[in-house]
């Protein structure tokens, strides 16, 4: 079944078709929510809310358009809305220990170091910048989809992403410098 077929069937009220969409996109939604909110409980709640809203609004969805950006947008709106109404308790992901019980080859260790650096640098970005990076490189939205999702013009989305990457680079460079200094 394609997304489009599933959507049409959802519009007829078929729950099984909606289940197909939920199973297909729940990981990307949950991951996005977790990366943005850094709180697993709240992330799950918001993903559920987003899917419920999508179900309620599915009759108004135009078949033929991609489902993922639409549902991601619903999710992001919910998260932003929540963020504006209260301060969210977070569990810093960067402090979660990566699995280390499996022996790794040297290149894997280097990659692991990169990922650790990335994780720490991501954690230091502003929520806006972390949001565009998560949506672009984790949720894999195109830049136009990203723009639509966060409700800004295409040019603004491009420049925000560019600035986010620039800041991430600064953070990574600072990390590396810090390590060098420390080593020296």
């Amino acid at each position: 079944m394609t997304d489009e077929q599933a959507i049409l069937r959802c519009q007829d009220g078929e729950r099984e078709a909606f289940r197909y969409l939920v199973e297909r996109y729940k990981d990307v939604l949950y991951g996005t929510a977790l990366l943005m909110m850094r709180n697993p409980t709240l992330a799950e709640e918001q993903v559920q809310e987003a899917f419920l809203a999508a179900w309620r609004g599915i009759k108004g969805f135009r078949p033929g358009r991609p489902f993922k950006p639409w549902v991601v947008r619903i999710l992001v709106n919910k998260i932003v809305s929540l963020r504006r109404t209260r301060t969210l308790p977070t569990v810093p992901l960067e402090q979660q220990d990566p699995p280390e019980d499996v022996p790794q080859p040297a290149e894997a260790v280097e990659a692991q170091l990169d990922r650790q650096a990335i994780r720490q640098a991501l954690a230091r970005l502003t929520p806006d910048h972390r949001e565009v990076i998560v949506l672009r490189y984790f949720a894999d939205l195109t830049v136009p989809e990203l723009a639509e999702t966060i409700g800004v013009p295409l040019g603004t989305a491009k420049s925000r992403l560019h600035r986010a990457l620039g800041n991430l680079r600064d953070e990574l460079t600072t990390d590396a410098d810090g390590e060098d200094d420390g080593d020296g």
């Binding site: 009220g13 939920v22 949950y30 609004g57 599915i58 990574l172």
Partner: protein, 675 residues
């Protein structure tokens, strides 16, 4: 790659690798669907269908008395809306040609033109889907997907769903018929006398007629609103009877331009007084006092916060289009040094469309305004809270700017606080030195809360306007008009008239029922008094009875009028006084200023109509005769004013008022003769 140089490609690659690696840690709980499934409700019926049902529900004319074609159109629309896959197409078609309008036109079709009314048996309205598709389904557009096919066989026969839909139509129709039986207007076939649903107004009793010897002082807040008149005109144009409670005479009076001269002193207000005989009651005179604010140029920047209603009720008619046109006109009228923010609201603030203050030509602002569309229920409180917060932040950033919050809504608040005072309390502005000014812009006919919008503006340092169509929206907020409207001239403006007891025996203020205030409050600067913009004019009429000794030739001093206000940019209190004088022997028809005569007719007609039908209880004269007399007098002004749109509009309105008053008049006393 653990080095100190990261190219763009390195970062992008590392990000993708990073996210791929942590993906397993970011997986959703396995049982997500199970916990979700129990919460799923049936998806919403399509918006178009809901609108149709609501429209039929509101109709006072039963479906069965529509013409056959009208009934068929309603039935076909209903079926199309729920036909599989066709809903969105039809909803689009309906947006282009709103079904309410079509149905309303059918409902209002004069009976004499509907001689061929056919009683359509309800059960025959059921049209099988195949027939509908053959007859009425528009051909799919090339870019749109083909009709979906259900994969599963054994689904409920589609026609069953169709029949359910028609059953709903029938149910609603029967309800409408039941209501119709209770509606006398329908029994006579009067097509244009229905009252739009859910339109609360507040009835304010007319002021008494105090004796000057005991009560010589009259104190009131000025008022530059004219919404009551604009609403009545919109109602009448759509064939509705004007609701007497909606008539606030001062807003009718102030809807017109009496062409007062600017203040001769070059500052403050021009205060102009005139007197002429009452046209309908011998021995009484009318005194008109006009206040004309000076026109000033002020380059102070503006912080404008648009608070736009995107709730479901805005889906009716062209409300959203009007609000969008008004918002865009305001944006285009702003200067480069002004700032504008947008808040859209339904049951909550639509955060993704919220734009904080930025330049008027910002694409984000344009985009937010363009995306205004109706959604769910209405939370005026939450949106005004956010509007006030944003406006306050902008005020703190730019202390030299004037601050406007422009609320565009039909006033149908149904989430959180729905009472104007509770809403204002919640969004209270505590900085009186540079106040936030709340302008309310009303749109819509049915489902319209005049009371809420009027009170919000009155107690929110602002003013209230009604917009009937997109052209009016653009004209009202054209650059020239906006420059005037957005330049505050006088805040907390109130007037006090002290009549001379030796000359005036009795006095009565016409209108201003909810603007009259205690005499003691005149000395106080209060938020609920009127905010007057640059160049604005406002007028009050009094009905007076004079002592016989006062009648003579030449100007007679009737009393004094004093005005007080707060200067917006300095916060200083100012005052101004003038004598109320005029020739009390001026007969109505011999007055030299036709605009004075016109204003008097407007004032008296609004005043008479606002108390219908209670006027008949225990009163010894017939307001319909008075209204007819006023209409005749208005006719005598055609030569001098007939070229004005304002004259033509009011003539039309007065004609309708006369019809209503006659229809409501009690049967005449039996003569005693056999027929």
């Amino acid at each position: 790659m653990a080095s100190n140089y990261w190219s763009d490609q390195d970062i992008e690659r590392a990000l993708r690798q990073h996210f791929a690696a942590v993906a397993t840690d970011l997986r959703a709980p396995e049982n997500l669907w199970e916990s979700l499934e129990g919460q799923l409700e049936d998806p919403d019926v399509s918006r178009g269908w809901r609108r149709l049902i609501e429209t039929i529900g509101r109709m006072r004319t039963p479906l069965l008395t529509l013409s056959a074609s009208g009934a068929a159109v309603v039935a076909i629309l209903a079926i199309l809306l729920t036909s599989r896959g066709g809903g969105e197409q039809v909803a689009e078609v309906m947006q282009e040609a709103p079904v309410e309008k079509a149905v309303a036109q059918m409902a209002q079709a004069p009976v004499e033109k509907a001689e061929k009314v056919v009683e359509v048996p309800v059960e025959k309205v059921v049209i099988r889907e195949a027939e509908v598709e053959k007859v009425a389904t528009p051909a799919p557009r090339a870019e749109e997907p083909a009709m979906p096919q259900k994969a599963d066989e054994g689904e409920a026969e589609p026609v069953v769903e169709v029949e359910k839909v028609v059953e709903k139509v029938v149910t609603k129709t029967v309800e409408a018929m039941a209501r119709a039986e209770q509606t006398p207007a329908l029994a006579t076939g009067s097509a244009a006398t229905t009252r739009p649903a859910d339109t609360p107004f507040q009835d304010h009793p007319r002021h008494p007629r105090p004796a000057t010897s005991g009560t010589p002082v009259s104190t009131f807040s000025l008022d530059i609103d004219r919404t009551s008149y604009q609403l009545a005109l919109a109602w009448a144009r759509q064939g509705h009877e004007i609701e007497p409670d909606s008539v606030r005479a001062e807003e009718w009076i102030n809807a017109f331009d009496y062409q007062y001269d600017p203040p001769s002193a070059g500052w403050g207000f021009g205060i102009w007084t005139d007197v002429l005989a009452h046209p309908r009651v011998g021995g009484k005179i009318l005194a008109r006092i006009g206040f004309q604010a000076a026109r000033v140029v002020d380059d102070r920047p503006l912080n404008v916060t648009l608070v736009l209603d995107a709730s479901g009720s805005m889906d009716e008619g062209n409300r959203v289009a009007i609000a969008r046109a008004a918002a865009e006109a305001i944006r285009q009228s702003l200067r480069p040094w002004d700032r504008i923010a947008v808040v859209q609201f339904t049951q909550d603030v639509v955060h993704e469309l919220t734009v904080t203050h930025r330049e008027p030509d910002s694409p984000t602002v344009r985009s937010s305004i363009e995306q205004l569309r109706p959604r769910e229920s209405t939370n005026v409180q939450a949106s005004l809270n956010l509007g006030v917060r944003l406006a306050n932040e902008a005020r703190l950033e730019r202390a030299d700017a004037y601050n406007y919050i422009v609320l565009m809504s039909d006033g149908v608040a149904n989430v959180d606080a729905t009472n104007p005072f509770a809403i204002l309390e919640s969004a209270y502005d505590r900085d009186a030195s540079n106040p936030l000014r709340l302008i309310t812009i009303g749109v819509g006919i049915a489902n319209y809360n005049d009371v809420l919008l009027e009170q919000l503006a009155q107690h929110g340092n602002g003013w209230y306007r009604y917009l009937d169509d997109t052209d009016q929206a653009r004209a009202t907020f054209s650059r020239d008009n906006w420059l005037v409207l957005s330049t505050p001239f006088a805040d907390q403006t109130r007037a006090q008239v002290t009549w001379d007891p030796d000359v005036v025996k009795y006095w009565r203020i016409i209108g201003y029922e909810n603007r009259v205030t205690s005499d003691e409050s005149f000395a106080q600067d209060r938020k609920e008094f009127a905010e007057i913009h640059s160049g604005a004019a406002t007028t009050v009429f009094y009905e007076l009875e004079l002592h016989e000794s006062a009648f003579g030739t030449g100007d007679v001093m009737l009393g004094k009028v004093e005005l007080r206000w707060v200067v917006p940019d300095t916060g200083q209190s100012r005052g101004q006084q003038a004598d109320v004088t005029g020739r009390v022997d001026t007969r109505f028809r011999s007055a030299t200023d036709p605009l004075l005569q016109f204003g008097a007719i407007v004032a008296l007609a609004a005043d008479l109509y606002s108390v219908l039908p209670n006027r008949y209880e225990g009163e010894d004269f017939d307001p319909s005769a008075d209204l007819s007399g006023l209409a005749e007098l208005l006719g005598t002004l055609r030569g001098s004013l007939g070229g004005l749109d304002a004259y033509r509009d009011f003539s039309f309105l007065l004609g309708r008022m006369v019809e209503t008053a006659k229809a409501q008049a009690p049967p005449s006393t039996p003569s005693g003769y056999s027929p």
